[in-house]
C-alpha cells in the first residue's frame, strides 16, 4: 500500500506538470482549486492535448468521449479523476 502511495504521489506531480505545460501557467501546480475553464486555462482544444500527453507520457488512456468538464474543472478534480481511472 505504501509503495502505491509513493507511486501515486509522483504520478500526481507528473500530471500537474503536464497540466502546467498545457495551460502555460505554473500556478496550476499549487493552486489546486482554480477553475481551469473559467480562468481560461483550459478549453476544448487543450483538453485534447492534455489527454494526448497523459497517454503518451504516463500511459493513462482516457477516451475524449467519456470525459465531462465537471470531472476535470480544477487541478484537484483532475487528479482525482485520473487516479480513479488508473486504479481500474
Amino acid at each position: 500500500m505504501n509503495e502505491n502511495k509513493g507511486t501515486s504521489d509522483t504520478q500526481a506531480a507528473q500530471i500537474l506538470k503536464i497540466l502546467a505545460e498545457i495551460c502555460e501557467d505554473d500556478s496550476v501546480m499549487t493552486d489546486r482549486k482554480v477553475d481551469l475553464f473559467k480562468e481560461n486555462l483550459l478549453d476544448s482544444l487543450s483538453v485534447t492535448e492534455l489527454l494526448v500527453e497523459l497517454d503518451d507520457q504516463l500511459g493513462i488512456y482516457i477516451s475524449p468521449a467519456e470525459i465531462e468538464r465537471e470531472q476535470i474543472r480544477t487541478p484537484e478534480l483532475l487528479l482525482q479523476f485520473v487516479e480513479a481511472r488508473s486504479k481500474r
Binding site: E21, E24, D25, E39, N40, D43, S44, L45, S46, T48, E49, L51, V52, D55, Y61, S63, P64, A65, E66, I67
Partner: protein, 568 residues
Amino acid sequence: MRILEELERIASHRLEGNSPVALCYDDEELSWLELSSYSDRLAVFLDRTYPGDRQAIVVYGHKSPWMVVAFLACMKSGHAYCPVDSYYPTQRVLRIVETVANPCVLMIEPLALDESYKPLSLTEIKKLVNFSSDRAPFNAASLTKSGESAHCSTVDRLCPLRDDETCYMIFTSGSTGDPKGVQISGSNLWSFTKWISDLVRSSPHSPFTNDYQTQIRCLNQAPFSFDLSAMDLYLALISGGTVCSIPRHVIDDPKQLFNALFSLNLDVWVSTPSFVDLCLTERDFDETHLPGLKIFLFCGETLTNRSYDKLQQRFPHADIYNTYGPTETTVAVTEVLVTPEISATEQPLPVGKAKPGTRICIMDGGGGLTATPVAEGGAVAASVAVAAASCEGEIIIAGDSVSLAGYFKKPEQTARAFFELNLDGQTYHAYHTGDLGYLKGEQLYYQGRMDSQIKLHGYRIELGDIERNLLQLPGVEHAAVLPSYRRGQIHSLTAYVQCVQFAPDKVTPDLTSLNDPALDEAKLAQLLREDLAQLLPDYMLPRKVVFVSDWPMTENGKLDRKRLEGLV
C-alpha cells in the same frame, strides 16, 4: 462554366429513381434531385430579381445543405458566392457584408441587417423553391414534372458564370485588421477540382471501382468560409457523391463527434492535421471502426511525422496525403502520398509536388528562381531535368490555380502579391506566397512564414489582425500578439497589452463598468478576451493575456518582441 457543366452532367445520372443523398448534415439531408432543382429555382429567382447583375452574394450560415444550394444558385445565375460562417462575430460578418456591398444576402442563418439590404431568409428561400419538408415518401414527380416544367424555359435562359469570372470569394485574415476577399475564378476551381478528383481516383486504395457509379462519402470538417471545405465539397460533388458535414456543436462535443464519425460510413477524409490529432485521442478511431475510410487528405498546415505515424498505425490500409496551398491559389497546389519510408527519412514531411498546370518556384534573396519542371498530366516529362535542390527562399506559385482577380477591391495589395512570371519562354500568372520553403527534386518543403502570418490549428491568422483589433478596445494603448510553441508547433497565442494608466487595483474605467475593486489582472484579461470575441472569430483569440506596464522598445524604437516574450 466548366465546373457547372460537369456538375450538371454528373447530376443527370443521380436524378432518376430514388435520388441519392448529395448533402448530409446532422439529421438533415438533401438529395441530388433536390440540390439540382432547388438551386435551379433559386437561380431563376435571383436572375429575375436582379437581371443582368453579376455582383458577388454573401451566403451567411454554417454547414447546412442549404448553403450549397445557395452556392450553386449563385453560380448558375452569374454571381460569385461569398461564404461567411455564422460562428464569426457579428461585427466581422457585417464588415464583410459591407465590403461586398450587395443588397442581396442569402441568410441560411438569421442575421440582423439594416434596411439598405434585401436579404432572403431560409424560410423565404424554402418557399421560393417549393421545398416540402414532407419527405416520406419523397415525391420526386412533383419536382421533375409539374414543378420543373413551370420554369424550365427560364432555367435555360439563365446566364451562368463564365470560367474567367469569380465563382467564389473567401475572406482571410488581413494584416491591417481588415479581412481580404480572395477571388477564385471558375477556371481556378475547375483546375483544382479535376486534379483532386483524379488524385483520389488513381490512389492505390481508391474507393472508386471501375464504374463511375461509386458514390463516395466525404467528410466536411471545415466551415465553408475556410477554403479547405472546397476540397471535400467539390470532390464529393464532381464525383456524384455525398458531402457529410459535421456541425460545430458536434465537433465540440467528443461524445457526439465520435458517434457521428463512426456512423457516417466515410470513404474520404478531408481535414486539418489538428482535427485528426483530436480524433486520434480516441483509441477506437481506427480502420476497424471506420472500415470504409481509404483516403486521408490533409491541408491547412503541415502534417507532422508524429501525426502521420500514429494515423498510419491506426489505418495501415489507407492512403494518407499531405497537401499545401494558400487560399490565393485555390485550396491546394501540391500533394504527396506519405509512406512509412518517407516518414522515417524525412523530417519535416514534404508537402508534395505541383499539380498539373502549376509550377512552384523558390525565389532566393537575390531574386534568383529555381522552378519545378512543367508537369504533364501529373507526370514529369522524361526529357525535362528535375530541378536540383534549391536553397531556401520564398515559395512562388505560378499557373492556372492562381487567383485571376486577386483581392476584392484592393488593387494595391493585389499588385503587390500577384504578378506575371516568365518561365522557359512561357508567361504564367503567379503569386508571392510569403511562405518560406525549398525544393528537393520536385518535392516542396514548407518552412514557415516570412512575415507575421501564422497557422494555428490549420487556420490562417495575421497576428497584425489580432493586434489591430486589440487596439480598437477602449483603454488599450499597445498590443502585440506572439505565438507560443510546443514541440516546434504553434500551440496557442499570447496577447501582450499595455493599458492606459493600468494598475491592477485602479483599472481604466473604459474597459468596463469597473467599480469593482476586486478586479484583478485575471479578471481584466477575461474581460479583454470577451471584448475581443465580439470582433474576432474564436480561433483567433489569444489564450493568454499578459499586461505590460513598460512597453519594451528596441534601440530604433521598434517593439522588442524578444523582451516581451521574456516577461512571462
